[in-house]
Assembly symmetry: C2
């Protein structure tokens, strides 16, 4: 079972590695890190580098596709070679998934037209402009497409995906093997729960970053 | 503020990238991926590769040290050049932290003698043999040392660390920016909560892997 993780300049590290840490523990999973070029690809802060093992041309029919988000998604929303690849590969996948603003790429490729989907909470408006119907849910399953909300949600998404592909026992075993019994120190993980001042701080920092 | 992430052959990806995704969002954080050699370092499944940016000799006094776990820890428990580096760097840090079996390395270096600490639940006995007092807690703060339990616990640890270094507002803002509002699909994330059959399955898989 080939699991392909898309990489591009300025991806978000945890969007990739969260699902990877879950899915790569499936005994039959073969991981492929796919990008327009093989070699080192730096994340959005430029300090963490993952290695792309395959070019887009080398990966045509993965069973599972994981599309991460990151600041780098914005410059790819009209990048037809990548969007074409997403459209073609999606025809072949059993599951097409995204984390965070990875759903913007799926939407830009026309794969989310008028269906419910999620993304990082700061980019719900952009997701709507690209044709999807944004929801605040953490994981949204729509046919064979699963979109997940911001960054850390990819872990929840991947565990749900394992439940679908390999059953509940396998999903629970992986959850236990990564000791995923979260204890967030605050209840501030969504814009609906965080205080107004925290939401404003993150909005301002995000605007400054972009 | 230099944050050093130790890398070694066969590390666990999420042990590194969980804390990284939190700590690298601090505006004053400079990330250094440190290993015995610079360049590509493969994780325990051999399919994910991070790039070490600094040698051990180049990083002598990071403010924060993050020691991940992974199958690769076991062959390093008597590797004096690395243990010496841990001892020396720990003298200089403001915070010395570990995720998962990273605490085995801290213990092997003599930094956890007779103090409470945590690790991956499968390795509590080994942690005790190395001189620490294992506890089942998810995050254990002991002076300037913080140990975290298995794999995914590094996210919780890092958010608690940000609370210490930059205050509650900063920690909440990062929690919101990575949308850390976990929804594990099952309550199977610790050996105390998972069913006996799931615990047995993970024990058997771990034994086969090692």
């Amino acid at each position: 079972m080939q699991v392909a993780y898309l990489l591009f300049d300025r991806f978000t590290a945890l969007d990739v590695t969260g699902p990877y840490e879950v899915l790569s523990r499936l005994p039959d999973a073969a991981s492929a890190f796919v990008a327009e070029r093989v070699g080192s690809i730096a994340n959005e802060s430029g300090t963490l580098t993952l290695t792309a093992s395959h070019t887009l041309a080398e990966v045509r029919a993965p069973q599972i596709l994981v599309v991460p988000g990151g600041l780098g998604t914005r410059v790819l929303l009209e990048h037809e070679p990548l969007l074409d690849w997403l459209r073609e590969v999606h025809e072949e996948t059993e599951w097409t998934t995204s984390v965070c603003t990875g759903s913007l790429l799926l939407a830009a490729a026309g794969l989310l037209n008028d269906v419910p989907a999620t993304t990082h909470w700061l980019e719900r408006d952009l997701l709507a402009k690209l044709g999807a119907r944004p929801t605040p849910e953490r994981v949204v399953e729509q046919g064979k497409i699963i979109t997940a909300a911001g960054v850390s949600s990819g872990i929840d998404m991947a565990l749900r995906l394992v439940e679908r592909t390999h059953g509940e026992l396998a999903a629970q075993a992986i959850q236990l093997s990564i000791e995923y019994d979260p204890e967030p120190p605050f209840d501030a993980g969504s814009p609906e729960k965080a205080s107004a001042s925290v939401v404003e701080l993150v909005r301002a920092a995000s605007a400054a970053r972009a």
